[in-house]
Symmetry: C2
Subunit: 125 residues, 2 copies
């Protein structure tokens, strides 16, 4: 069966964007698809990481340095720890420029996660 | 500031559908919004739960009983445990009919989670 709704998601073992996954409503996920999707959901399964992710995602220019987003009520080392987790899950990318590391939301990942949660046309009503 | 993009999500402390949250890209989340969103993401942060959720969501009629979705490689008690977690997070509802408990995806929650991950028009490019 063709799978036109596969989506690009980050493969955490490499920098490549690999196809995963159809909408959750389309068909039962395979083991591999479920592991990829769960890894991303788990990364956002923490309130501080949700706040940091939304702070980066909504920052002007679509990127932010730690200096821009540290007002989430935890220490800066904790902020850095959570940003690292988001990066390891493929949700953020980072780039050092001068003194600061800048974080950016990977747009293809955001699109793919949104698609995961889209009700597919084939879902029962 | 008005918030036309608020979305209905289940309040786990009641059966009421309460408004939460804007797209993650729209503005930094508040503490309360982040806790609500993280609770749902965390529920899907496990491969078995992703498989069960997609099995229910993609089942004909939009609902499934445990008997329909137990082929995920774990014991039936473990399946029931994970279904309970999904229900506690507000992602599934359940109803007993005769011998079986039927699980259904809460459509408003799926829509709200999808919207969380939608790139808002105001997100920087």
């Amino acid at each position: 069966m063709s799978n036109p709704q596969s989506l690009p998601l980050i493969d955490p073992d490499s920098d490549a964007v690999v196809p995963c996954c159809p909408p959750l409503t389309e068909r039962p996920f395979t083991v591999d698809e479920a592991e990829t999707a769960a890894r991303m959901f788990k990364a956002l399964g923490d309130p501080v990481r949700v706040r940091l992710f939304s702070a980066v995602a909504s920052h002007p220019g679509g990127e932010a340095c730690v200096c821009d987003i540290s007002d989430v009520g935890v220490s800066q080392p904790t902020v850095s720890h959570h940003l690292k987790k988001l990066k390891e899950a493929g949700l953020l990318t980072s780039e050092r420029r001068g003194t600061w590391v800048y974080y950016r939301v990977e747009p293809s990942v955001l699109a793919a996660m949104g698609r995961l949660l889209t009700a597919s046309a084939s879902a029962g009503a």
